[in-house]
Structures are given as C-alpha cells and as structure tokens.
Symmetry: D2
Subunit: 338 residues, 4 copies
C-alpha cells in the first residue's frame, strides 16, 4: 500500500483527492494538511466523506512522517518551497499547482510574477498528461499535474498538431463550471452574478495560455500562436473547450478521423464522441473528445470534469503510473451521465 | 414631479429602485447615495442603467437638498438614525429596512439585537402592504416597506385569516432566489455551494418570522403560531411561499375561493392562479396567489419577484399612494413570462 | 456471482442501475431490456457506460435466461404483469414501479386507476426501505422498491412517529430535481419553463401520498393525515423534503435528538446533519437527515439523490439484503460533495 | 395609432411581441393568431399578460381586418405564403422567420430545403438590422427581421469588417439560452439533458451561418469564410457570441477602438463594454459589444436578450422605423441587471 499525504487539502481539489483515494485499493491517504481547518475531522469539513475517513486535518505534515507520495494542492509559489524538501526525503510528488508546469522559468516569471525558486527540480519535473507523456511520467519523481483547461484543450488538439494536420494559429474558446474558481466566495462566483450568464474573463491573459502553448510547441517543434478565451459557465462541475485550427494543405477529413482514432482508441480515459457531453464525464476521470471539419477549419471539442480529469483524478492517474500500478486503479468508475 | 432620493443605493434594491424610477412619469430620482461608490456614475456601477441616468453616486445627501421623498435602502439600525432628521425636514420616507416594521420595540430588540432608537416615529410608521393597509398608507409620512418573505406569505394567507376561515398554527415553507441575499459574496451564495441544491436556513429563527406573525395577529386578533422555514433556491430572482393552515369548522372550499376572489379581484398587482408561477412575475410588481384545499388543510401559495413586489416595486407603489398618484404609476408593465 | 437482469432499462433508473452494477463485486448485469433501444449497445445509448459494459439492449429477456434476480424498471401496471412469471421461475424481483408498494389493492385502484392484477404477490411483497424493514426484506422474494419522495420523507419522519413523539397531521413540503420526472421531454421539464422557477404540482394529489401514509400508519397504528406538496426544482439530481409535525405532550428536544440518534447511528446510509445538504449525497446512496424544534413544531428535513437512494441505489441495497451480502456492497462510495 | 397584428403568436416570440406592444404608445396590437390556442384569451395562455390585453387568439386574421402592420412569427415557408397577400393589401410586414433574410434564393433552397416561392418580394425585402441598414428600412414595406445569432454576431463584427480592419476567416463561437429553441419540448431542451452542460450543436451546419456570411460579404465586398459554432447554454434568456478575426496589416488596437466608438457612440441600443454581460441586457432591447486584441487576433464579443434585441424587440424597432416613429418608442426601458 502506497502511503500518501495531501498538502493544502481544504479546497475542492483536496476534497476530490480524498474522495478518490477513499476507494483506491493501492494508495492510502495518511494525512491531509490545512491551516484553516487544522484539528477538525476531514469528514466534518467535507460531509460527503463521512464514513470514508477518520482523519483530522493537520497543520502540517509530521517531519518524520513516512510517506511514499505527496499530492500538493497548494497555491503556486507555495509548491516550489515545499518540493525540494519532499524530494530530499525521497518522497515522490504530484504537484497540482502551476509551479512546475512551464519548463522555461522566464515564462513562469512573466505569467506568475514571481521568480522561480527551484530551477533544479523544474528541470526534473514531468508534465503529467499521461495520454501524451506516459513514458516520461513512469520514470519521474516529480509530476507537474496539468491545469484543467490545458488538459481539455490539449487532449482535443494533440492528434491534429502532432501529425502536422493543421497549421497556423489555434483558437481555444473554453467554458468552465464555477468549481474551477475554487471555494473562496468572490464577486464573479456570487450566484446572482454568474447564474444567468456566461462571462468571458482574462481574455488573452489567462495563465493557462503559456501552458497550452508550451505543450503544442513541443508537439510540433513550431511557435504556435494560441488564442485562449475562457468563459465562466453557470454549472458547477464540468468544462468544454471548442478549438479552431486550419487544415494543412491536402489533409482530408479521413486523415483527421484516423489521427483521433489512433491517438485514443487504446486510451482508457478518452472517449471519442461526435459531440462531447459534459454530463457523461461528471464525477469521473473520462474526457470526451470530438471534432468536425467545416470547410478548411477543424473544430476540435473536448469535455471533462474539471475536478477529476482536470485535477484530482489526473493526479491519481499520474500517481498510479509513478508507482507502476494499473493506470486506472481507483479511477475505474463511470460518470454520472445525468 | 415628486423629487426623490435613495440613501444606500449601491445594492440590488437600490439598482431596482433606479431601474423603476427611470421610467416613472411622476417621480424623478434626484440623488442616490453610496459610501463605496461615491463619485462614480450610477450607470458605470450598474451598466443596465446606461442611457437612463446621468447621476453619480454621492457620499451623502446634500443638507439643503430639496426632496419630497426619500427611499431608505440602508441596513437596519442605519434607517432609524436617518429617519428623524428626514422627517424633521418634512420629507416623506419609505424605509426598505426592517427598522419600522415591528410595532413592538421589544420584539425589535429581541430579533435584531439592538434597542430601538426612534420610538416616536415607530408609532407613526405604517406597514406598507397596500393590498391590506392602503388606507393607512395614504395619510402617512413614514412607510415601513415589508420584507419580501412577509409580502409573499401575507398576501397568500390574509384572505384566510382575516375571514376566520382557518384556525391554529400556520406553517410557511418559503423558497427564495439568491438575489434576496444581497450583493455581497458569501459562502451560502457561492455558486458551487448553492447552484445544485436547495438549502433550508435559519429554520425557525429568520427575522421575517415576527413580521409575518405581527400582521397575522393583527388580522385575527389572535396569537398565531407561525412556523417559518426559508430555503435558498438556485434561481436569481423570484420567490415562492407554500403555506399550510387548518380549515375552521364548517368552512367549505367555496368559502375559501370566495375569500380570495373578494380580496383580490380588484387588485392591480395580485393575480389569482391555480398554481402561482415565478416566471410570470419576474421583473414586475405582480404577485400570483393560489390555493388548494387538501382534506382539512388549505395549501396557500404565492409567487413574486423578490426585488420588485418584494422590495423596490412595492416601495414605489407605496410612494405612489403617499403622493396620491395612481398606485400603478411607473409599475404598470408585465413580467417577463419566460 | 448473482446473475441479474433489468427489464425496462432505457430510462434514468435503468442507466443508474447499470452504472452501479458495473462496479458491483457480487452482482453481474447479464441483460437489460428496452423496446425502443433493442439491438443497440447500452454504452451507445448511455455514453457514460462506455468501457463498463459490452451488452446490447434486448427486446425482452430470453425465456431460458438463467437469472437469480430481476430489477423491474418498468412503468406501473407493466410490473404486475411480469412479476408472476418471474416469481414462477424462482427469480427474485426488486420492482422499482409502484405496483407492489400499496398493501391495499383498493388504494392502488383509487390512486392508479387500475385494478390490481396480482393480489397474491402483492401480499408477499415487502416494502423495501431497509432502514425500517430490513428483517422482512431478508426473507422476501419480491421487494417493492419505495418511491423517491417516500424514501426521503419517511426516513426523516420515522423516528418521530415510531416513538410517538409527534401527534396530529403531518405536512410534507417536498422539492425534487427534474431527473425525477423521467427522460421523456414534457412541458414541465422544458428548460425555459422550469429553470428559473420552483413549481408546486399535483398538490394533494401526488401518488406518493398514499405510500407515505401507509408506512406512517403502520409505524403508529394510527390514521395519519398526510399533506404532501411536491415541487419541481431547477436542479437535475437531488431532493429535499421539509416536513412538519406537532410535538406530543411532554416531549422535549432531547427526546427528539435521541430518537434520531438511536434510529440512525448504526445506519450505513443515513447521516444526521444539522441541515441536510443535497450536494453531499449526489451520486451516492446516502441520505442526510436533520431536524429543528420550533416551539411545539418539529421541522424534519432530509436530502438524497433521487436516482440513487431514491431509486436504483436503494434497489441494489435491497438486492444485497435479499442475497445475504453486506448491505453496502457496490454502494460504498461517497457523494460528489460539490 | 398604428394598428398591428401578429400571425403565429403562441410561441415565445409572439408573447414577447405582445409584452412589448402592450406598453407601446404608438402601435396597438389588434389581433394575434394561433391555430392551437384559437379562442383562448391571450392572457390565459400567457399569464404574464393578465391586465395588459383582453384579446383572444384567433384562428386567422379577418380578411377585412384593417391593419397597418403585421408581424409574422410564423415558421419558415409559412411566411412566404403569407407575405404576398399581406403586401397586396398594402400592409407593411416585419417577418421574424428566415424566409426573406437570404437575398439569394439558391442559398435559401440549399440551407432550408425548400424552393423560395416569393422571389418578387424577396428582392424588395430589407434586412432589418437598424444599426447597419436603417436607411434602407426606412423606405421599405417588408422587413426580414434578423436571426438572434446573426444580430449578436454582426453587431460585434461589423465595425471590424466594414473598415477593412481584419482579414481572412471569421470564427464565431456562440452561446444561446434555451428560449432560443422555442417552446416545444425536445430532447435537447429537456432540463436533465441541458441544465448541467453546454452543448455544441449543428457545428458548421446551422442555418444562421449563411445569414451572417451574406451580411459580412456585403460589408466587405469579399467572400468571407464564416465558421459558426452555436452552443446550447443552461440559461433561459440571453446570448453571447465570442468571435475571432485576424488583424489586417498595420492595424493597431486604437484603430479598432475607434471603429467601435464611431459605429456605436450614437446608437441607442448598443453599448460598448469591456466585457459584455448578458444580465445587463435581459428583458431589454440593448446589445453590449466589446473587444480585446490578443496579438494579431481580435476577439469580438456581444451579449443580448435573444427574445428582445434578438427577435421581438428588434422587430418593434424595425416597425418604429417603418412608421417614422422614434426608433426607441416602446423599447426605452432598461434591462434587469440582475
């Protein structure tokens, strides 16, 4: 049994990690930290976990705690202060923050406004999108768990870009449920402000933009122009991305279809669908991917649960790979459907 | 033209007052105060008012301002500090806070935790539910505008209680949209917390309970046991109350029907409906009232827009009465329906 | 491994049964019938089941099919035509329709407008609310799976009524998500009609009324007056009931608290909560129950997922009991929480 | 007073026309037809209109009816059978169907699957987007009222295309509330199917595509490649379009800003906003338009109420122009805001 801890566990991602790990046959959750909830039973703060855990939140992990694996559900900049000491203790880390996602520390500084404090581990970190980088993850000690938008976007676009089937800029029109904004009440997630609307935000400025771009650049060896427009959607769980790219010369619809099939036919957590549907994925680690060729444009779509495949579920998927378990261990359950 | 001002205008109620007054042919909005938005154009803070007002929020009303009427959209305890000086200046006041709703200052102290500071005006204040107290409002200088829940509840129950058609306790199961909670973000109105749920709150403790009871007691001359359970509903505008009372001996369904018809057939803003529907009332000053007799129990239902008939619209209706205008002036527009 | 089939599986309840059984270690789903989807892969009709079942819908069960257990997700009147032949083949049946819920065939006829065609089995049927009738279910061959509203209502009221802690009539104000209306589009579930509203329906006339009454009568030996008002709520999954009863003479709040604790402290699927919350139960078989004493009235509340504890999950819980498995087998996963 | 009738008035658009006309000082609604509701009071079918109209639905307009103006809220193909006879009677027509929107009858046949039956009037019809074609509308007898998506899209893109500020293809990612789907219940508007999702539909195939393209082609004199992806959004009223185009060489952000300002500073019903917000427009005829330049891409956004500026409100705006009234007559009220 792999012994795991979660640092920064009082948010939605922490709750979701605890929910998934509570039924995981190979990883046991041994500790979860929270400054604000320290000393309170997890199941009191998160009533859906009653009967599934007797743990209390702790202020911080005991120094002599014997963990094989730590999930960091901490804010960016906090993670890069914690990673070096965890790595020194020989603990494998899946970091759900943005701290190790961008390979270029200059990019990090530009988008996050902080100098990167752990360049050494940044180099060792692997971007944890198993469908693309499974082989690298397998041998890693530190996984940068992707953002929700990048996961959804990249899964829908990778087959196109990897194969050189499209060229020119990529437009990503993304829509996310409100749980993606975290559990702190804000003006934008105040129900009267968001419940009968859909609101574009941080147009062209969202921090997931360089993350998407870096991966797409890596897949193509080119400098891809990524236009990324997120929208806040009046649902709680779930996300849809609708992306647009231009077909390369001579590429036919059948080439596109084949690229998607060959990319995902063997993938446990990606399903091809003519129109991806959020409800099929809610509560599960599945991502639905679909496409439509319209003239010389391909419209690539994907749907997933932002808290599962977009966060905690993918983190567990990465942990499974790190510890040579079947990738679907503890994640092999369907979405709610309705 | 009646010159009006709104004090405390930056919340939903203030916006709604400005929305209604912007089209009112007999009342002109001359000033609106807001501490936090002082100096900003109203239409910048409330973009739906662009083209309808050039006013800027002011910190406070000019001392020499020439107003006939002030709407107080201030929190409780603030109103009772403002009312005496406004009354002294000969200004009529419609107070949308709770400060003048409870006739008994002891009740006020018990439910609001503050001693009442303006007992003199409390006695002069009239409870502004026109369908019941029109005649008193007509001669008043100070109107205590009812709460949203009491308006909805009392309109549905008054025909039963007034006529002695029911007896014993009254159970009110109320459901309100989230705009009723005001515009400050809170944990309970955080979209992920409320959007896929309906949540009972302050069960038996809500401050609208004594307000409902005081009116029902007044209608019957009895001491009515009112059980009031509000629920937060995942819609923005609109409210429904479902109330339960026991038929008095010998009362038949037809007596009930007649009581409702005679109460409301001539009322401009109350419509009888077999099942009251929130959408028919949204954006308007209308209240839909209906009932069903089930055995010896009568189920009384009402629906309205909590920001209009439940707040700003009723305030304007009261103002119309105070100034001897047709009661529907500036309010004579239908709900959205869908 | 228990071999199971579902008859009438193309609706939400069928999908939910398939979702739960796909992870059940002791029951295998061998066949699912659907007239309209016959011949189509289940996972094509219900995409959330891709990867979890290779079955196709069949028109009807093969006559020589070797099943230990059949779940009937058929409409009322259909079930009572199927049960006799299944029972004759020695197959245990969990019927999710209303056909075997009312012990008195006269009541059935009155509320459902059809004569009961299988009085013999009606007598043998056991009402499948495990928290109340576990011992009877254990020895049964035919379980009448309760309706969603009765499950929620009765779980919240049983501790009060069983102990004689309340007296007089019981008022049930119930609110259900739209999935309870089934998957056929109707005027009332048309999004523009229901999404910004809460609508009372079948006030005093809903067919779950006699089901609630029959159980409450049985618990008390009295003739309880049940007033039941369902409302359609603009959420998809989940249900809340708020019920009102009058304390019996001399009953104190602490008696009430003790009754709830002694009823549910040992129950795997009932959690006591000060305010029951739908999100904690969504996707799971849990029911949250709470209460508040207000003067001489007790407000009893319960929340659950209408498709799980209110339908398919409880059906599986009953099946587990029928076949002497641990009651939580295949159901031991938490709700989504958010 | 202009005498008007509505043909095909029982849908959402008809209700909205009646709602607006009920307060219009210059147009009186004299008759409204509906096959299915013939003989029923309008205010019974549409309860939000109680107190605002005493009309009953009629099967069809009386042949000798004296109307100045007819609004056709009929399905496509029905309009083109009605228009010739109405025009012959000297009645001006605002057609809310698609029948006269596409100038090229071949395009009509291709997208709507029917030959156009009234080529003569098709030539005389004017596309009723006042902000672009006010001068043509003024002298017309037949106005083709634009679709909701085209109105929203074109208002956001026209300043860019008209001025040659962008080049190449135009991508339109559109999101509409469910009222746009009409009042007939369907699988896609069934609440459980759409309420916790956002669903792309008719990707590349939607009939509003050629309508957008024809206008954009006309503005530029070019053959614009329009990629149009509509999504069904879980709100009732309101629409947002997010469109993407590439800046032409040498165009600076300030050029873009100036183009929008010069297009709309004098327009009563278009407001520039940094981020367009649906709630500001709900219930009103206003459209909010905004843009953001991201590298060489301009993201053009617009929000409106699909039933008002996207349908009935714009139809009334067109009627005001036809009859030389102030364009805002009867439409000069703000949106709900919240």
């Amino acid at each position: 049994m792999i012994k795991a801890a979660v640092i920064g566990g009082s948010g939605y991602t922490g709750g979701e990690l605890a929910r998934i790990l509570s039924r995981h046959p190979g990883i046991s959750l041994e500790a979860m930290t929270s400054r604000q909830n320290s000393g309170r039973p997890i199941a009191e703060v998160m009533p859906f976990l009653r009967g599934f855990t007797d743990l209390e939140f702790v202020e911080q992990l005991p120094e002599n705690g014997d963990y094989d694996l730590v999930f960091l559900a901490t804010p960016h900049t906090a993670s890069m202060r914690l990673v070096p000491q965890l790595m020194d203790r020989g603990i494998k880390v899946v970091d759900l923050s943005a701290d190790y996602r961008l390979k270029d520390p200059k990019e990090y500084e530009e988008w996050y406004g902080h100098q990167h404090a752990d360049a050494a581990n940044l180099e060792r970190a692997v971007y944890g999108l198993p469908e693309l980088f499974r082989d690298h993850i397998r041998g890693a000690d530190l996984v940068a768990n992707p953002g929700c938008y990048p996961t959804c976007t990249i899964l829908s676009l990778a087959p196109l870009l990897r194969g050189g089937l499209v060229e020119g800029k990529v437009i990503v029109d993304a829509k996310s449920g409100t749980s993606g904004a975290g559990q702190e009440p804000t003006r934008s997630t105040h129900h009267p402000n968001c419940a009968v609307s859909i609101t574009p935000y941080k147009v062209g400025d969202h921090r997931h933009t360089p993350e998407i771009k870096e991966v797409l650049d890596g897949l193509t060896g080119k400098d891809i122009d990524v236009i990324f427009t997120p929208h806040l959607l009046p649902i709680v769980r779930g996300m849809l991305t609708t992306s647009y790219a231009t077909l390369a010369d001579g590429v036919a619809q059948e080439d596109i279809a084949m690229a998607y099939r060959s990319a995902y036919d063997e993938e446990r957590f990606v399903h091809l669908a003519s129109v991806p549907a959020i409800p099929a994925t809610v509560g599960s680690n599945f991502c639905e991917v679909g496409f439509k060729v319209v003239g010389t444009t391909v419209v690539a779509m994907a749907a997933l649960d932002n808290l599962v495949k977009g966060a905690a579920g993918q983190a567990v998927q990465n942990a499974n790979i790190l510890f040579k378990m079947d990738e679907a261990t503890g994640l092999d359950f369907p979405g709610l459907g309705v």
